[in-house]
Symmetry: C2
Subunit: 425 residues, 2 copies
Amino acid sequence: MNVRGAVLVTGTEVLSGATSDRNGPWISRRLGTLGVEVEGIHQVGDRPEDLLATLEFLRGRGIDLIVTSGGLGPTADDLTAEVVGRFAGRPLRLDEEMERKIEAVLAEFARRFNLDSESLRAGNRKQAMVPEGAVPIDPVGTAPGLVVPAGDQVVIVLPGPPRELQGMWESAIAAAPAREMLARAEPYQELALRMFGVPESELAASLREIGAGTDLSALEITTCLRGGELEVDVRYRDGAEEAAAALRAGLVERHGSFVFSETGQSATEAVVGLLDGRTIAVAESCTSGLLAARLTERPGSSAYFVGGVVAYSNDAKVELLGVPAELIARTGAVSTEVAEAMADGAIECFGADIGVGITGIAGPDGGTQDKPVGYVCISAAARGGERHTRDPVLPGGRADVRERSATAALHLVRNLLLLGEQPPR
Amino acid sequence: MNVRGAVLVTGTEVLSGATSDRNGPWISRRLGTLGVEVEGIHQVGDRPEDLLATLEFLRGRGIDLIVTSGGLGPTADDLTAEVVGRFAGRPLRLDEEMERKIEAVLAEFARRFNLDSESLRAGNRKQAMVPEGAVPIDPVGTAPGLVVPAGDQVVIVLPGPPRELQGMWESAIAAAPAREMLARAEPYQELALRMFGVPESELAASLREIGAGTDLSALEITTCLRGGELEVDVRYRDGAEEAAAALRAGLVERHGSFVFSETGQSATEAVVGLLDGRTIAVAESCTSGLLAARLTERPGSSAYFVGGVVAYSNDAKVELLGVPAELIARTGAVSTEVAEAMADGAIECFGADIGVGITGIAGPDGGTQDKPVGYVCISAAARGGERHTRDPVLPGGRADVRERSATAALHLVRNLLLLGEQPPR
């Protein structure tokens, strides 16, 4: 049978726009792979009546499993345990074992940071109040979680800090009420294609064409354009394997080398796979470290990434990277020639096999008629002399241009590693 | 009177965990400053029945203004306009003027990217279907927006790509139905304190103490611990100025120089303000460009940021930054001594006034008993010889450690600029 789930994120900080919620997507993804059909992610403030109304709404929608995040802290506006208790018809009682556990955590915390443990303990008793009949989940920080049976529903209650929530997830879904609910769910199979350089409308046309020949109705297809990359995520249950395979083959046939991943791996992962023992170094201007940061996201990146120079000033481009001052004077600091010299400079500077140079106008100022804001020159070069160079005009604000420049650079490196010499344009 | 608002974000890509929604917080913040009391942000998939049920739920909760994002694209799973039309009791009709506008945009798009304009046009007519009596909003991309009167409610319908949504916001809130609704809202006043180095429980104690002397009930206080920084956001209406001032004064009195902003400005902005004409350069190992990227987020950063070296390998530390090889051999690459030598190297390398060195163990591998994962050495130095150096053990996974290291480094620079020589610990 289908198990329907929903996520309820609490906390005024999300509504104030101060932060973007990371827990909702994380939980939703985990529920999805367990076979739960996720109705939605609902973020509400700290008002108990809004929280309770949303829980009742989800019950009315036939949601079986609700996961909440946040509102378990020591401050007075943290009300989730109480509201979920009311929703489930289970009054709060003090869990003495939990109280002792939290006390031990706080004593250690106070010792390490030399804090006044009295002020720390004030919130302790509040955090050890548990709805009757709920299964408490040991804290990773100081806030315990809860798995609360609520009639035909089950509510999993977890704290807001992502590190704590993620650390408590396995214990929470293993607790009896959650485990029994999840045993009824049929896991999904998944397919995740990633493309670069394909407009969304071209993809829509491809999906229509493939759909004309094959019934795709058993597939849940999601497309998303993100930072210049087009993501196609497909979920399906047993029996739809042939439709999924036809879709995959149809997209790869139509979009060829623009498809950089069939497993959902990132551009960074694709590049790392292709490096195959070679080392890479970068020389960045407008992206100012973002490409270096992307190339080192993964553990073990020191095996292939040797270093980078953020050459924001012309002096740094000349002195550290050996870009000829005459070249900058002649073409300007933002030119394909300077990007190529920067890529070569990165190879020399770090003794790398592959070098990347990026120079561009992130804006909002500094644009001209010829070189508008968003104009970025990128070159990926190999020690042997092959290189790929591009100079797109990227859309969006300063942050978008910087992020997209780093993404475009990764794809240029991928093309270089995949194709060798740049084909004529 | 109070105007209550809510945000409804559609799209399976958020539920699949593929992406974190940025539109909800953005819209919520904009609504807040207009004086709208935001009930929540609801993210649901592309199922029309879930979308409609959520709209009905919000109507039942007395929400006056609903803003939707997403589901306006050319593909068949984009259903928001149709569902909102049904919710408002307004059937769709073809808006011929809008059809011509979209056609013009697409023709230009096809020309620039040399695409098949036939396949692009297929989705065009669908995007020009508008609920009867709704006010269409001109597209920034290809998807037009809508402002739809729905009985006592108003629904603003905007596309999903953040750049398009943000570009259409001003037109949407200026459209008659939205403008009339918003005229009834009373704008909030805001206070935004930022602290570093204060644990959340200490803040909770301060809030209790201040609240014992002053009635704070007219203030909406939100606290959020994010990447090591503690954010306190306060909203209030006219008449609560004294309570807000008492809260501000009480927190500043208790937490002194740990309060780095009273206006919500970021650590980067605080540092830039204090630089006051001096230049800064960085030498990064474990953060690999993240600090350089943070220092250049703002437009005009070339006035103070001169450059950075990402010295991932020991060779790069020695050759580019002049860290003595003997020192690395003696103390290891992760030590306060190496961080200090890196900071000095950044000053020399770029001729900067201020230099920062970061070296640490981001994990998940590489930790030892003495130097566990999360152990990071950071030094901020001035050309004159003053320096601040710290070696905290930061919590979290690889990404957390990297982000927090960059944040901690910014605060170390702030301390250096504010205090000069490091006080004895």
